[in-house]
């Protein structure tokens, strides 16, 4: 009887110990999971994640479009094809500051060390090359959306992933996307993300969007499927900050001492030799 009781007690104790160990293990697992989810400051609150690829994409696009201010670092690489047929990859880094509706600043450093600064303050857009101390400037009222489109479409300048900066980005990406698929759930630097793949008429794209309440893109890859060799452009985003401290002076341009104003290349044809000298003729200011 005693033996039986002792045996029963022993069993109960063993079970209790096992249960405690299991509980510890479970607690440890939860803690580890929390740790995995936390590096990108993704909030810990439970959210209802969309399950459809289109919903995930548009949630990201709407979240970005509605962000009134943000800063982000973007590192990108892209393929180029040389006359010899050789494929060469270049890279660059950008620090982007957005303050809707009128403030946009992009500090660019190319892989060869060359730097450029793009500024827009709601009235003028300026591109400045510090190493040559030259800048081009054009007037454009209306806000970031108008300025970005004007910069690319009319001035033929370059601003990769410019669509992400627009307040109408959701409409842009939706209208261009012909097909969209959910590839997989994966992790980037420990952050659980949704990997989506979309196709437009001319570009195939992939985007990685983190789980959680801040669905800001972590990585985007574009494939130019109609171009020779199907070159790719890939960008990695880091240091998203949706509540940065920015001042108006960050977006306005004050020509440094000794700097020289030049025209945008797309405007040179429009400028008669006698008119090119007038800064106002190309919408700028001295």
């Amino acid at each position: 009887m005693i033996k039986t009781l002792q045996k029963g007690t022993r069993n109960v104790l063993c079970l209790a110990i096992l249960a405690t160990l299991a509980g510890c293990a479970e607690h440890q697992a939860v803690t580890q999971s929390d740790t995995l989810a936390s590096p990108a400051a993704v909030p810990q609150t439970t959210v209802q994640e969309p399950t459809e690829a289109k919903d995930l994409l548009l949630r990201m696009a709407n979240y970005l479009a509605k962000a009134q201010k943000f800063t982000v670092a973007m590192t990108d690489n892209y393929d180029t094809f040389q006359a010899s047929g050789q494929k060469i990859e270049f890279g660059e880094k950008r620090n982007i500051t957005v303050s809707r509706p009128n403030g946009l600043r992009v500090d660019l450093e190319e892989s060869n060390g060359e730097k450029h600064v793009f500024l827009y303050d709601g009235k003028d857009m300026t591109v400045f090359n510090p190493s040559q101390n030259v800048y081009a400037q054009a007037a454009k009222a209306g806000g970031i959306d108008e300025a970005v489109v004007y910069l690319l479409k009319d001035l033929h300048m370059r601003l990769p992933l410019a669509a992400l900066l627009l307040s109408r980005f959701p409409a842009e990406i939706e209208s261009r996307t012909q097909t969209l698929d959910y590839v997989e759930k994966t992790t980037i630097h420990g952050v659980p993300t949704h990997h989506l793949a979309g196709r437009t008429e001319t570009v195939d794209y992939q985007v990685w969007i983190p789980e959680g309440t801040q669905p800001l893109p972590l990585r985007i890859v574009l494939t130019y499927k109609n171009a020779e060799g199907q070159p790719q452009f890939s960008a990695q985003f880091s240091d998203w900050n949706l509540s940065p401290t920015v001042s108006a002076s960050e977006f306005s341009f004050t020509p440094p001492a000794g700097s020289r104003k030049i025209a945008f290349a797309a405007q040179v044809t429009n400028i008669a030799p006698t008119a090119i000298a007038t800064p106002e003729a190309i919408g700028g200011k001295q």
Binding site: Y150, K153, A171, E174, A227
Partner: protein, 265 residues
């Protein structure tokens, strides 16, 4: 003993490092390098734009495309016509010759006929070759122009609903290909005709955008220009003169470039 062994190992490792560096240098310097044929590597191309759309592969013709095609077609047509006339003349001449030598024997006639046939075949082959060349040139011209096409294009039909009405209801505002500007050398821009429209917003202040075709400069003699230029400043704008050509600096999508301009005075 150990110290000696360590010294030997260290020396061998250092030798390997030096050899590896030398090999890298040899690779970099000894095999020609320079993808751009002496002008450095180009940073341009479709992927450099980083855009969600691309003008590459679009088929909508621009006025300049049509003009180019028309000119090329006219040239091809003219050449084909001229060649055909030559062939006809040759045949007529041969026929006259045959008539004037009516006393010649059949063998001679057969030889002559065979020669004529060979000539006609040769001329025909030449014509075909020329037509093929011109056809290839036309295709190349069309492809090149299509790659430079920056204009608007109807949005793709997809299962997504059309975008909300906005003043920018097109998907090609960011599809410009980045011009090929060689790394390590400045570029000289040439300006070509541009048929694609500017942004279709009433708020746009732009007047007449132009396609900028930037090509790799000849080996730079002075800061990317093809000579050591005379520099003039006219009304605040710096001009660079190389012979009868004038250039000014401008900001393009590949950076600061030199572009040809009319003489400022």
């Amino acid at each position: 003993m150990n110290i000696k062994l360590n010294s030997i190992v260290t020396a061998m490792a250092a030798s390997f490092v030096i050899l590896a560096i030398s090999a890298d240098d040899a690779t970099a310097r000894g095999f020609g390098g320079g993808g751009g044929g002496g002008g450095g590597y180009s940073r341009g191309g479709a992927a450099a734009s980083g855009s969600f759309s691309s003008g590459v592969g679009r088929t909508a013709p621009s006025a300049s495309t049509a003009s180019s095609r028309s000119q090329a077609a006219q040239t091809a047509s003219t050449n084909r016509s001229a060649t055909a006339q030559t062939a006809s003349t040759n045949r007529a001449a041969t026929q006259q010759g045959m008539q004037s030598t009516s006393t010649a024997n059949q063998a001679q006639r057969q030889d002559s006929s065979a020669e004529n046939q060979q000539q006609r075949q040769a001329t025909s082959s030449q014509n075909q070759g020329q037509r093929q060349n011109y056809s290839n040139q036309n295709v190349q011209t069309r492809q090149q122009t299509a790659q430079q096409y920056h204009g608007s294009y109807p949005p793709p039909a997809g299962y997504y609903p059309p975008p909300p009405a906005g003043y920018y209801n097109n998907n090609s505002w960011d599809d410009g290909e980045v011009a090929a500007v060689a790394v390590g050398s400045a570029a000289i821009g040439a300006v070509a005709g541009y048929a694609a429209g500017q942004s279709n917003t009433s708020q746009s202040q732009s007047t007449a955008p132009a396609t900028t075709v930037v090509y790799t400069a000849p080996p730079p003699a002075s800061g990317g220009l093809p000579c050591n230029p005379n520099t003039s400043v006219v009304k605040g704008v710096t001009y660079y003169q190389c012979g009868t050509n004038w250039y000014t600096q401008a900001y393009g999508n590949g950076g600061v470039v030199y572009m040809p301009v009319p003489a400022p005075y």
